[in-house]
């Protein structure tokens, strides 16, 4: 419980700092920033040192090694967002001036993280719902944070309306499941599903819940909000959405499928396969024509969600394992790209054209770009390839070979638009000389950590072995 307590305390500490310190102080932003990230490192350490499987809060909050790993992914995702947003609040990123209310932003991120922790570890539907609300409502106003841009408010507006509807659907689904099972604990519902898998009440509940999760994950046909929200929101929020929100959504799906709906899992396969195929296709086709970075990442994340869901067409154990492994890799690659664009886009704007001439100007940044791009596209020898392999292997275990050809072909389409980034950086000549890059020590450090992660998670098997062992030891 220590990590969660530290997280909440950190949020309140920031609140106190914000109340009592003068915002006009030179070092105010630094103070908020450093407190946040040091605190998150402590949280990470606290999670990493937890080893035993425990059940807390009268059995509604379960910590297992696999859950701990996911919590580490979520916490590090918040850490990277906080590291990234400093630039936006101190000097201004994305070719606009500095945003205000740094402390509130960080507090919201931390509280969203607490919510996400609860979603992952929840063992009953009510706890899950509370955690989910905590995890999504702050995100609505985090998307509106950039008060200088109308697109930010528009994005938040779309997000809040569609998000609220999906929450309603989820609650509706939960109520049907409660009506069917007579209880909200996962265990109770599981027993009810085992005895009565064909009940219409159950299936209505499942379908409504799946729709709501589909919204969170931007699956087709619930993906329409993604591009606009990712585009309008300020970059740190987009980065956070693309990693943490996806992680929460997919882990929510996986834990429901593995702990509650296990007996009907194989019956859901055709539906999941359809969703995965459609999502992949929409994401990949949509990204083809993009030139604005955040919008592009929106479509790219839709496609990635498609690949993640695709693993769920295989047996649940290998699916869970490969999904967690891929999330590790996906978060590092995504953040690499977002962080890179926050550095490059500061005075040039976050468009593809800001990359021109990068290979000559800063070969290291261009190499980092290649690394992230290849990882997301799934090209060896970087980590993304192994991750995709494991996802597809999970599907192959259930002999869905033609779908694998389809998914791999989608990956090829994906390669086309990821290569556009490389094209801008390496091949297209810069027409006018680009503005100097502002590239400080923190950037170098964070980017190196991300680069090492991308390179080594794929090459050294320890990560996948840990995931494998944690997954095996899950029950």
């Amino acid at each position: 419980m220590l990590a969660e307590i530290i997280l909440i305390s950190l949020a309140f500490l920031l609140l106190v700092i914000e109340l009592f310190f003068n915002k006009k102080m030179n070092t105010y932003n630094s103070l908020i920033h450093h407190t946040s990230w040091v605190g998150l490192i402590i949280v990470l350490l606290a999670i990493a040192y937890r080893v035993n499987k425990t059940q807390l809060m009268l059995g509604s909050y379960q910590l297992t090694p696999l859950n701990n790993l996911i919590l580490i992914v979520l916490a590090s995702s918040s850490l990277f967002t906080i590291l990234m947003n400093r630039r936006y609040f101190e000097t201004g990123g994305d070719n606009s001036s500095a945003m205000k209310h740094h402390a509130e932003y960080n507090i919201s991120i931390l509280l969203v993280t607490v919510g996400m922790f609860n979603v992952v570890c929840a063992q009953n539907l009510l706890h899950l719902f509370v955690g989910l609300e905590l995890a999504t409502i702050p995100l609505y106003f985090l998307a509106a944070f950039d008060t200088q841009k109308k697109s930010s408010s528009e994005a938040a507006f779309k997000y809040i309306i569609l998000g609220s509807i999906s929450t309603t659907l989820m609650l509706f689904g939960f109520s049907y499941i409660y009506g069917f099972a007579g209880g909200v604990q996962y265990q109770e519902i599981l027993t009810a599903v085992q005895t009565n898998p064909n009940s219409p009440l159950l299936w209505v509940g499942v379908l409504f819940t799946l729709s709501a999760i589909g919204f969170k994950l931007s699956l087709f046909p619930f993906h329409f909000w993604t591009a606009d929200v990712y585009h309008g929101a300020p970059s740190p929020t987009t980065a956070f959405l693309s990693v943490s929100s996806k992680t929460t959504g997919i882990i929510l799906l996986v834990s429901l499928l593995s702990q509650v709906f296990t007996p009907i899992y194989s019956q859901l396969t055709p539906l999941i396969m359809l969703l995965a195929a459609a999502t992949m296709l929409i994401g990949n086709l949509g990204a083809l024509k993009q030139s604005h970075f955040r919008r592009f990442m929106g479509f790219s994340s839709i496609a990635q969600a498609g690949y993640l869901i695709f693993a769920l067409t295989g047996p649940i154990e290998s699916a869970r394992e490969s999904i967690v492994f891929y999330l590790l890799i996906y978060s590092v690659s995504n953040y690499g790209l977002f962080y890179l664009f926050s550095v490059i886009g500061k005075d040039r704007g976050e468009e593809f054209s800001s990359l021109r001439g990068l290979s000559k100007e800063s070969p290291i940044l261009a190499a980092m770009l290649s690394l992230c791009v290849f990882s997301l596209a799934g090209i060896p020898p970087v980590a993304g390839f192994i991750g995709k392999l494991m996802l597809f292997a999970s599907a192959a275990e259930s002999h869905h070979y033609f779908m694998i050809i389809f998914a791999a072909a989608n990956s090829t389409i994906g390669l086309y638009y990821y290569l556009q980034l490389l094209k801008e950086a390496y091949i297209t000549p810069a027409n006018e000389p680009q503005i100097q890059l502002d590239f400080n020590l923190q950037d170098k450090f964070v980017l190196s950590v991300l680069a090492l992660g991308i390179l080594f998670i794929g090459i050294f098997p320890h990560w996948s072995q840990w995931v494998h062992q944690f997954a095996l030891g899950f029950q």
């Binding site: 290979s359 060896p380 020898p381 390496y426 098997p461 072995q465």
Partner: protein
């Protein structure tokens, strides 16, 4: 002790050399090039010592004629990703050794062929070395996953290499090449995962999988998936369309490496993976594949005749020669398989030499259009003679490497006995004539006739250019005159695959 490290060093060394050059600022072109020349030279020495070591080991080894397991030397087998039973399993058999040697020769020549490169030299050689590492890795992997990993690594740098340092229409060509090759590997992906899960033993180990008889239903779709997946790289008609544009746009060393070695990965993969593991599928599908190959060998030279750009001529000649490789494979006969392996080596040397020379000629005349050049033999005799030797090897003149391979393939394919195979063989033999047309015509137009005034002052090859040309010509002639040692050790390689096909 050295034995177990030798193979790993061979594929790691190019990457290490690239990392060494990171410290040197991009302005010191000469230093960077010297380091790379030394590095690839050292790699060549390692490859030669590997070949010699392999030959001496094979002397003590008697081949069991009924064995279906490939005999490997220098094996290393370490566990890598336990959850999917992926092992770092590398080793060499005869074919692998020869291909590794070929790669080392071509990249050594390639470094010298790129001596005049001036733009972003460091990045160019880094990417080239990553490419070479990938190629070495493919030839020595015996675990399907490692094989596929290196295969993809070998495709990865192509986009940047062609896109940044290429010429004619580079953006379009590089994107087309990359997307077609990666798209083909999506078929491979499914095929390899299928092999893993359908085998019953859940292993990626090539040797273990060769002993399993996969069921008919699986082989029915898996063989075309694997064969086409590899075939796209091996310029199988109608999936060869990436090749002419890609080779024309690529810089010299990249074309040499790509046409000379990378496209052999396609044939190698077909042989090693598709045919070795799925022999029943091979027997069923081969007649249909032979029809496609007939187009390859028949149409390739005809298209080449129409071309005016030297690089396009050579690219289409590659397509037809690789069609011969695939024809040898498709014959499903012992001699045919052997011929295919010989042709892989022979054509690699040949095409490496041709692209090398084209690069040098282009650097002087600044045109690749054959019509615009004439009478060059008077001013650049060294390069001219080398071009003629390359051309003659291309049309299969006895005494040069091409003849040995082509004759073997024709005999092997005819031996097969099926109607389609025999018709394809006849088409191929007739295509020797059409090959002669474009080879001799290109050489003639370019080298003889009246000398164009603006080419009066061209310099002949300097020492950095003579080295690769001499090495490649020597290998061409050497293989043509002394092919015996190659054909002998290939026995041990082809035998197990053929035995599997007999099943």
């Amino acid at each position: 002790m050295i034995d177990s490290w030798l193979l790993t060093i061979i594929w790691v060394l190019p990457i290490v050399i690239s990392l060494l050059t990171f410290a040197i600022p991009n302005k010191n072109h000469l230093k960077i090039k010297i380091i790379h020349a030394l590095g690839s030279g050292f790699n060549l020495i390692l490859a030669i010592s590997l070949t010699i070591g392999f030959l001496s080991k094979m002397k003590d080894f008697t081949l069991d004629p009924k064995s279906t397991i490939t005999h490997l030397e220098y094996q290393v087998n370490l566990s890598w990703f336990q959850s999917l039973n992926i092992n770092y399993h590398i080793g060499v058999d005869a074919l692998s050794v020869l291909m590794i040697l070929l790669t080392a020769i071509i990249i050594f020549a390639g470094v010298f062929a790129s001596w005049k490169m001036e733009n972003q030299v460091k990045e160019f050689f880094v990417l080239l070395n990553i490419l070479v590492s990938g190629v070495y890795g493919v030839f020595m992997s015996y675990d399907l996953f490692v094989f596929f990993l290196f295969y993809e690594v070998a495709v990865l740098p192509m986009y940047l290499l062609i896109g940044v340092w290429g010429s004619t229409n580079k953006e379009y060509s590089s994107m087309k090449l990359t997307l077609m090759l990666v798209g083909a590997s999506s078929l491979l992906f499914a095929g390899i995962l299928g092999l893993y899960f359908e085998s019953g033993i859940q292993s990626f180990n090539l040797l273990a999988l060769s002993q399993i008889q996969f069921n008919e239903q699986f082989q029915f779709w898996a063989f075309p998936a694997l064969f086409i997946g590899f075939g796209v790289l091996g310029a199988l008609f109608p999936f060869h369309t990436w090749s002419p544009d890609g080779h024309a746009a690529a810089p010299t060393a990249v074309s040499m490496l790509h046409a000379g070695v990378l496209m052999k990965l396609g044939g190698y993969g077909c042989l090693r993976v598709a045919m070795y593991l799925l022999p029943e599928g091979a027997e069923f599908w081969m007649p249909y594949v032979m029809i496609l190959i007939a187009f390859n060998v028949g149409l390739g030279p005809l298209i080449a005749i129409k071309q005016k750009d030297l690089k396009y001529i050579t690219a289409y000649s590659s397509v037809s020669h690789l069609g011969l490789v695939l024809m040898g494979l498709g014959s499903l006969s012992y001699i045919g398989l052997k011929g295919a392996s010989l042709q892989m080596i022979a054509h690699g040397l040949l095409t490496g030499l041709m692209f090398c020379l084209i690069g040098m000629i282009y650097g002087r005349t600044h045109t690749r259009q054959v019509d615009e050049m004439g009478g060059l033999m008077k001013v650049i005799p060294f390069l001219g003679v080398a071009w003629i030797i390359a051309g003659l090897a291309g049309l299969g003149l006895p005494g040069l490497s091409g003849f040995v391979a082509e004759v073997t393939i024709f005999i092997g394919a005819f031996f097969n006995g099926g109607v389609i195979a025999r018709v394809t063989t006849i088409v191929a033999i007739l295509s020797v004539t059409t090959t002669a047309i474009y080879v001799l015509r290109a050489a003639n137009t370019m080298l003889s006739g009246p000398l164009n005034e603006k080419f009066k002052d061209l310099q002949d090859a300097d020492w950095t250019e003579k080295i690769p040309v001499i090495i490649l010509v020597a290998c061409l002639i050497g293989m043509g005159v002394f092919p015996g040692w190659i054909t002998e050790i290939l026995d041990s390689s082809i035998q197990p695959i053929f035995q599997n096909l007999q099943r």
